[in-house]
């Protein structure tokens, strides 16, 4: 850990290097675009370098939050005049996960696009820089700026395949909903700047003081959260995610589901613990509100995921379900809860990325993503089939994948803090999601059971989603089978790390230690003893965690088999009314952005009303 | 705190400035409503241009010359131009309405 006074040059380089390379690639695009390999190599080398730097930073910040004041503008009289990066090991870890997934998706797109012009690489590198900057920044307006950088790059990447109808509608809905969320967040930033006259998170947190929050602090908190919750795909702000995911090119979907959604929720935790936590008095009302939102999202996401026939949309809804579980982990406001959410994010990010890459390989090889049309045709893709099944089991919290640790710790922390039902919610949603993906694995890759009911909407899609690539369809190239394998192996390896729990809980404590954060950022003093709202909890892997992990996976397998052989099961004919109810729910996901914005305003009104009455 | 308020004494005879601000604020609110209520994009662009000019006048009254310049060039010139070109582009493209007609 460097002496607190000196500024660690790695922190700005991690964001500036990808930006510079992206700009130079675009500047020299006229020369390079003939031989494309140079582009891919330069882009991959950049993201590998960024990943390495971030892992080093993660190790360095384990001792304490690393602070970097741009242009050397240290605070004067305890008031910040410049912008700072204030990164603990949790934020560096999340940024490192981002860089790893960007590297994996770039290696995957080595042969994936037939005409990947320079713009794809520039957009991906700026997208990486935006996400890393979002993780590391310690200034609330800078958070909004990197939120926008990440957003605009994502809109452009979603609409990369402009030939089909889907990408246009997906990108348009995505852009409008996220922009409205971002501008409402900016209104919140304006309000909190009026009260505290500061933009640095630590300084605002200190200025807000403790205990009784006035009306302005509550409203500013909810408004700033709107943009972050919309990006984090929490019900009722989640509608855009399925549209954007179903159409974005596969390497981009990896980043959307793997880490961009999780960044929104990291933003919620960061803004709560660094800025508003003490000012709002850590009331139980806030825990209750976030718990309710998280559980609702987990169940709605899992329900919609099981009903999907479009592979990418199924994975998109499972991401929404997991986003709900991460929010539940945060909502417990305990170090173990946050550590559980972090482990869940790492495990889910790697496993979900592997699933999307396999779907990309299937799309490359078989030219379709409709489960009913692909039934039994995936037998030729042996390795992809095995990796897809392993990743599906990982999604169903099967040990040794890191997801079972996350589910276990969130459940433990919840039951020891008066919310025993959380373990049940985690299991139900994991079973539903795992069941859906395992049903696809069994049906598509091993031809088990009967093809599922034809989804009428997909047939109207008329133009079958043309394979995103041309070139020889004979076999799936190595660059498309290796990355998912590596990602699944990494998820399993991380699950087996001996003291992962204590490392993550220490990092979570670092985030939740408000006084220490203010002292480090504004005072520049090193913090030796971390004191958070609630104490540490044991993180040893207990038998109960293993049992719940295996139980969930077994439940998912059973559900998948039920889904595959449902015609032969006698008792299922009486499910007719359930299907009618399910269809009415489907119409909510209407694809019309006007509806999504109405739900967004409704969501803000509900959360605002609930917090206003309980925190008055 | 560092800078006590005593060192700054706002002048008392500011009612003229306040009147100007109130009038401009009312005009800006009305213009914003008008931009939203004109449903045809061709007319909406003209109202948007007016709205951009009114906004820059308001910013000028709020002692923000930089933002005034920026809002004038962007809000009143660049954005309406790009939207006008978009609308002319839409008219030229064979959309389904043309085929229906």
């Amino acid at each position: 850990m460097r002496a607190p006074g000196t500024l660690d040059p790695l922190l700005p380089l991690v964001v500036v290097v990808p930006l510079l390379v992206a700009a130079l690639l675009a500047a020299l695009s006229a020369l390079i675009s003939q031989h494309r390999r140079v582009l891919d190599l330069v882009a991959i080398a950049t993201s590998v370098a960024v990943s390495a730097m971030l892992v080093v930073l993660m190790a360095r910040t384990a001792g304490g939050v690393a602070v970097y004041w741009f242009a050397g503008l240290h605070p004067r009289h305890g008031a910040a005049i410049g912008i700072d990066f204030a990164a603990g090991s949790l934020s560096c870890g999340l940024a490192a996960l981002t860089a790893v997934l960007v590297t994996a998706s770039m290696v995957f797109s080595w042969r994936y696009f037939e005409t990947a012009s320079t713009w794809f690489h520039s957009l991906m590198l700026v997208f990486l820089a935006g996400m890393v900057g979002f993780c590391l920044t310690g200034d609330i307006f800078d958070l909004f700026v990197w939120f926008e950088v990440m957003g605009v790059a994502a809109y452009a990447l979603t609409a990369f395949r402009v030939e089909e109808k889907g990408p246009l509608q997906g990108a348009y809905n995505f852009a409008i909903t996220n922009s409205v969320g971002a501008y409402l967040s900016l209104l919140g930033i304006g309000l909190i700047y009026a009260r505290t006259g500061a933009l640095n998170m630590a300084q605002i947190g200190r200025a807000l003081g403790h205990g009784r929050p006035g009306s302005l602090v509550v409203v500013a908190f909810v408004l700033v959260l709107v943009g972050l919750i919309t990006k984090g795909a929490i019900v009722p702000f989640h509608f855009w995610l399925a549209d954007a995911h179903a159409v974005a090119p596969t390497p981009v979907c990896v980043l959307f589901s793997g880490v961009m959604v999780e960044l929104g929720l990291y933003g919620v935790a960061r803004v709560y613990w660094s800025v508003f936590g003490a000012g709002l008095g850590h009331r139980s009302a806030i825990t209750a509100a976030f718990l309710a939102l998280g559980i609702l999202t987990a169940l709605v996401g899992a329900f919609f995921s099981y009903r999907q026939r479009h592979l990418k949309r199924m994975l998109a809804f499972s991401t929404i379900s997991h986003a709900g579980l991460f929010l539940v982990g945060f909502a417990l406001l305990t170090p173990l809860g946050l550590a559980g959410a972090a482990a869940y994010v790492i495990g889910h990010g790697l496993v979900k990325a592997a699933l999307f890459l396999c779907v990309g390989a299937v799309l490359h090889r078989l030219g379709s993503v409709d489960e009913s049309r692909l039934h039994g045709r995936g037998r030729a893709l042996k390795t992809t089939g095995v990796v897809f099944t392993l990743a599906a089991l990982g999604l169903a919290d099967l040990p040794p994948f890191a997801t079972y640790l996350g589910a276990g710790w969130v459940g433990d922390s919840a039951s020891s803090h008066g919310a025993p039902y959380v373990t049940a919610v985690v299991m139900i949603s994991s079973i539903l999601v795992g069941g859906a993906v395992l049903r696809v694995a069994g049906g598509v890759f091993y031809g088990l059971g009967d093809p599922p009911r034809e989804d009428p909407r997909l047939r109207q899609g008329a133009t079958e989603e043309r394979s995103e690539t041309s070139g020889d369809e004979a076999k799936v190239p190595l660059t498309m089978t290796l990355p998912p394998l590596v990602l699944v192996a990494a998820a399993a390896a991380i699950g087996l790390l001996p003291h992962l729990g204590s490392v993550l809980q220490h990092a979570a404590l670092q985030v939740e230690d408000e006084a220490g954060y203010v002292k480090t950022v504004l005072g520049g003093a090193a913090v030796h003893h971390l004191s958070a709202l609630s104490p540490k909890e044991p993180t040893a892997v207990r038998a109960i965690d293993l049992e719940s992990g295996f139980g969930t996976a077994a439940g998912a397998l059973l559900l998948a088999l039920g889904g595959l052989y449902y015609r032969r099961l006698p008792g299922l004919k009486r499910l007719r009314p359930a299907r009618v109810v399910a269809d009415t729910f489907d119409r909510l996901q209407s694809g019309v952005v006007n509806d999504y914005l109405t739900w967004l305003v409704f969501g803000v009104a509900c959360i605002g009303g609930a917090l206003a009455f309980s925190l008055r | 705190m560092i800078l006590s308020d005593a060192t700054f004494r706002p002048p008392t005879t500011a009612w003229a400035g306040q009147l100007l601000e109130v009038v401009l604020l009312v005009l800006v609110a009305a213009a914003a409503t008008l931009v939203v209520l004109t449903r045809r994009p061709q007319r909406q662009v003209v109202v948007l241009s007016g709205y951009g000019l009114l906004l820059s006048l308001l910013f000028f009254a709020l002692q923000a010359p930089d933002v005034t310049l920026s809002e004038m060039t962007v809000g009143a010139v660049v954005l309406p131009l790009v939207v006008l070109l978009t609308i002319s582009k839409l008219k030229m493209q064979p959309g389904r309405e043309e085929e229906k007609k």
Binding site: L28, A71, A159, F160, A220 | -
Partner: protein
Amino acid sequence: MRPERRLLFFVAAAAGFAAFLVWGLTGLPAFGHYRGPYGYLIDRLTVHYTHATGLVSAVNFFFRGFDTVGEEFILFVAATGLATVMRGLREEENEVSGGEAVSAGVSVPRTSDGVRTLALLLTGPTLLIGWWLTTHAQTDPSGGFQGGAVMATAVVLIYLAGEYLKLRRADPIVVTDSVEAVGAAGFAIVGLFGLVAGGTYLAEVLPLGKHIGAVNAGGTIPLISLCVGVEVMAAFLLVVSEFLGQTLVLKGALDS
């Protein structure tokens, strides 16, 4: 949802949202009583730190310079994204305009000579004003954004003068794309100089100039303002010509 039901649902939700918002606004300090420390600190420190008298540009390009790096790349990505989205359109247009599918009903008025001369006369001064704005960031109310935007409007004048097709051949999209990228890269590189020489990213490394508020005062502020001006001009140029290009590709088809 059908539009009528959605409107009812929205009105109810918006009423709750408005009440919540106004409830929060009551907590704000009265209008005109700004008391936050940040503004007064900047008032006090700018001249000492940067010898610049234009505080807003000092905040934009020095105190909060890293925001501006992020924002430059927002513009860079939007222009690149727009070019990507429109790229497909251009290829399709060539096939379509090759055939007679384009409806000939659209009449294209010739630009009258009066408009043409006036526009060409004004192009020079517009560029000059834009250049003045870009270079006087550190002294007067101006900066890279406004300068770049005004310079980009010079192209609008050329379009009004109907000379755009000649300009189009001399300035293909690729040039503006790389100029824009150079502008963005330039800004990031200036920041890197600060890291190498001054120890921190975006540090003031150039001499601050003797006279406070002079054109050469402000250390890196004028340099950054220049980079931002180039990038904003190129980005606006790219955006406008993307849309201009489309309409004229079709018009071109109509004339021939």
